[in-house]
C-alpha cells in the first residue's frame, strides 16, 4: 500500500518573477503526466524547507507539466527563491473539488480577485476561454495593492484588444497608484460601479485576501445576489490535503476535500470565522 504522505518527485522547468515576492513555477512530474481540474490545488514540497498547499494556475496539457504561482509568505514558501531550473521538488495531489463548470454553463460569469488570488482563478479563466460560447458575459475585476503587485502583467487580460476579441471585460484597480498607473484607484468593490453587474443569471467567483472576500460577498448580497450565486475559492493551511489533519475546517466543511471551491451559502452561517 502506498504511503500517501510521500510526494512524487518533479522538476522545475521554468521560473518567472511576477513581482518582488511572487514567482510562477513551471513544474513537470518525473514519472507521470500531470492533470488537474480548474480550481484544484497541490501540496508542494521543497525538500529541506517544508510543504505548502498552492492552487494550480494552469495545466500545460501539451507536455504534462503545470504552473503554479507562489508568494513568499513563510518558512516553506521562502524556499522558492532558492530554486533553480532543474531543481527537484515534491508534489502531492491534485486535491480538492474544483469549480462547478457544469453549473456555470449558460450563465454570466463575474470573477473578482485580489492580489495573488488571480492565480487561483487562472485555470478557470482558461477553461472558460476554451468553451467561450457556452457561457454568457465574462468579466474579471481584479485589484492589487500597487501596480507592481499585479501578477500575470504580460497576459492577455491586460490587453484590451485581446480581451475584446475573446469576449471578456477586464477591469483593474490598485490601492496605491504609481506615476504610470492610468487605471482605477480604490477597493475592488468600487469596480462594481464601473461596469454593469446584475444578479439575474450570473455566478460570481471570488478569490483574494479574507477581508476582501468578506466585503465583496457582502456587497454582492446587497446587490441581490443569492448565496448559491457566490462561489469562493478558500484559503486554509491544508497540511494533509486528505481531510484528516483538521487544519482547514470551516465548521464541519474541510476546505481540502469539500473545497477549496465553496458556495458562500455553504459556510456563511457557520459559527466559525469564515474570512
Amino acid at each position: 500500500m502506498r504511503n500517501t504522505f510521500i510526494p512524487e518527485l518533479a522538476k522545475i522547468k521554468g521560473i518567472k518573477d511576477e513581482t518582488s515576492d511572487i514567482r510562477t513555477l513551471t513544474i513537470s512530474m518525473e514519472n507521470r503526466f500531470f492533470d488537474a481540474k480548474p480550481g484544484q490545488f497541490v501540496e508542494v514540497t521543497l525538500f529541506g524547507y517544508g510543504e505548502f498547499p498552492v492552487s494550480v494556475a494552469s495545466v500545460l496539457g501539451s507536455n504534462g507539466s503545470f504552473q503554479t504561482t507562489i508568494q513568499e509568505k513563510g518558512r516553506a514558501t521562502n524556499g522558492v527563491k532558492d530554486l533553480e531550473i532543474g531543481s527537484t521538488i515534491g508534489i502531492r495531489g491534485p486535491f480538492g473539488n474544483g469549480y462547478p463548470l457544469e453549473i456555470m454553463k449558460g450563465k454570466d460569469i463575474y470573477i473578482v480577485t485580489g492580489g495573488i488570488g488571480l492565480a487561483a482563478v487562472w485555470s478557470l479563466i482558461d477553461a472558460l476561454m476554451k468553451r467561450r460560447d457556452q457561457y454568457g458575459k465574462l468579466k474579471l475585476l481584479h485589484g492589487a495593492r500597487t501596480p507592481d503587485d499585479m501578477i500575470y502583467k504580460d497576459s492577455f487580460v491586460f490587453n484590451k484588444v485581446q480581451t475584446d476579441k475573446r469576449g471578456m471585460e477586464a477591469l483593474f484597480t490598485v490601492d496605491r497608484p504609481d506615476q504610470d498607473w492610468q487605471g482605477n484607484v480604490g477597493l475592488v468593490t468600487e469596480l462594481f460601479n464601473k461596469t454593469e453587474i446584475s444578479a439575474g443569471n450570473a455566478i460570481v467567483v471570488i478569490c483574494g485576501p479574507g477581508i476582501m472576500m468578506k466585503f465583496v460577498s457582502q456587497e454582492l448580497m446587497n446587490k441581490g445576489f443569492g448565496v448559491s450565486q457566490i462561489i469562493l475559492s478558500m484559503e486554509r493551511r491544508m497540511q494533509c490535503g486528505m481531510g484528516v489533519c483538521g487544519h482547514c475546517m470551516i465548521g464541519h466543511k474541510r476546505v481540502c476535500l469539500d473545497g477549496p471551491v465553496l458556495y458562500y451559502g455553504e459556510i456563511k452561517d457557520t459559527v466559525d470565522r469564515v474570512f
Binding site: N3, R237, Q239, G251, F275
Partner: protein, 351 residues
C-alpha cells in the same frame, strides 16, 4: 448470529494469559508507564508477566491511540546529493504478527472505531494505522464502576458495547463473563478453562452493566445540542469555560478520538537531509488555524474552545454519523483549568 458466551474462573486467568503469551505479544494496562509523585497512572504498554497486567484500572492517562497512531511518526526520510538529486525513503514500523490488546475499556474500543472512520477513509488510508488495526486482537473489559468524570453512555460508547472487540470480559465476582465478538474471539474461547455460561451468569453480567449504567451521569441529548448550536449565542454560553483555558492542549493529547496533526520538517542545517514527521496537534494552540501571512481564523481562546466542543459533538458527528466524544473523562481529569467538555455540552443543550 448469537455471540458465544463463556465463563473463566479468575484463578484461571493467568493460564489464559500465558497461553496467549506463547503466541502473541500482549499489550495492556500496566503501571510501568510512570506517573507523578502523587499519582501513578496505568498506561497501555507491552506486558511480559501476568502480574504486570492491571485489569482493575480506572482510565489510563493516554489512550491506546498512542500505539495505533503515535505522536511524532516519521513519515519518510529524504536526502539531497551534491547534484541536487533527491532520494526519498519510506520508513516506519510495521507489525508482521498479530498483537493482543488485553483489557481495553469500551470507551477506548469505541474511540478506535471512530478513528477508523477518519484514518481508513476512502480519501485517506493511513497504511501504518491500517497495518496495526489489521494486526490487533482486542480483548475488552467492561468497567466495574465508573470513574467520577466518565459519561460514556451519552454517545453509546459504554458501559456495554456490541462491536469493536474480539472478546469482551465482564467481572461478575469469582468469574469473568466472556463474550466473543468475532471468529478469532470464538477460537480463543476453545481452551478447556473456559466454561459454559448459564442464564444466571448472564443475569449477573446484565446486573453489573446496569449498575454501572445507573452510576453514570444523565445522558446528554446530542440531537438537541446540534440543534442549539445554530440557535444559541455560544460565546456567552461558553464564556465561563474559556476563561479557564490555558490553551495547553492536554485535552487533545489524552483524548482517544482527537486525530488532528501537523506535518513538520526535521532537517539538518544544510537542508540536505531530513525527515517529515507527523506530530499530534491541538486545536487549542494559537497557531492551529493560522495560515499564510499570519492570518488566524481562530485568534481567541474562546474560538478554539468552541471549536473543540463543536467538533466532538457536531462537526464530526455531522460528517461521520456519530459524536466523537466517547465520554472517557480524560480531558476533564487532565485539564489544569478543570474544564469539563460534558458541562460545556450540557450548557449548550440547555440553551
Amino acid at each position: 448470529m448469537i455471540a458465544m458466551e463463556k465463563l473463566i474462573d479468575k484463578r484461571d486467568l493467568e493460564k489464559f494469559f500465558n497461553d496467549l503469551k506463547e503466541e502473541y505479544e500482549i499489550i495492556g494496562p500496566t503501571l510501568k508507564g510512570g506517573g507523578t509523585a502523587q499519582y501513578s497512572y496505568t498506561t497501555f504498554a507491552p506486558i511480559n508477566k501476568f502480574e504486570e497486567l492491571m485489569l482493575d484500572y480506572t482510565t489510563t492517562m493516554v489512550s491506546p491511540k498512542n500505539i495505533f497512531f503515535p505522536n511524532n511518526q516519521v513519515l519518510y526520510k529524504f536526502e539531497k546529493d551534491s547534484d541536487g538529486n533527491i532520494t526519498v525513503e519510506d520508513v516506519g514500523d510495521e507489525w508482521r504478527e498479530k498483537r493482543v490488546f488485553f483489557g481495553m475499556h469500551p470507551c477506548d474500543i469505541s474511540a478506535l472505531l471512530r478513528i477508523d472512520k477518519v484514518l481508513l477513509e476512502e480519501d485517506f488510508d493511513d497504511k501504518r494505522y491500517r497495518n496495526k488495526r489489521e494486526n490487533c486482537i482486542i480483548i475488552g473489559i467492561t468497567c466495574n464502576e465508573p470513574h467520577q468524570t466518565c459519561f460514556c453512555s451519552t454517545s453509546g460508547a459504554g458501559p456495554d458495547i456490541e462491536i469493536g472487540y474480539d472478546l469482551l470480559f465482564t467481572d461478575i465476582g469469582e468469574y469473568y463473563f466472556v463474550r466473543a465478538g468475532t471468529d478469532i474471539g470464538e477460537k480463543l474461547l476453545s481452551s478447556d478453562y473456559f466454561k459454559k455460561a448459564s442464564r444466571k451468569d448472564k443475569e449477573k453480567r446484565d446486573n453489573q452493566i446496569e449498575m454501572v449504567n445507573n452510576a453514570l451521569p444523565e445522558k446528554l441529548d446530542i440531537e438537541k445540542i446540534a440543534q442549539n448550536i445554530s440557535d444559541c449565542d455560544l460565546d456567552t454560553l461558553l464564556s465561563e469555560f474559556t476563561n479557564q483555558c490555558f490553551t495547553c492542549g492536554a485535552c487533545n493529547m489524552v483524548c482517544p478520538t482527537c486525530h488532528c496533526f501537523s506535518v513538520v520538517e526535521r532537517v539538518n542545517p544544510e537542508r540536505t537531509k531530513g525527515s517529515r514527521n507527523l506530530t499530534w496537534d491541538s486545536c487549542h494552540y494559537e497557531k492551529f488555524a493560522t495560515m499564510a501571512g499570519n492570518v488566524n481564523v481562530r485568534p481567541d481562546v474562546k474560538d478554539r474552545f468552541r471549536h473543540r466542543v463543536l467538533d466532538k459533538f457536531y462537526y464530526d458527528a455531522t460528517r461521520y454519523g456519530t459524536a466523537f466524544c466517547v465520554g472517557c473523562g480524560r480531558c476533564r481529569d487532565f485539564c489544569p483549568g478543570h474544564m469539563s467538555i460534558r458541562d460545556a455540552a450540557k450548557k449548550i443543550q440547555e440553551g
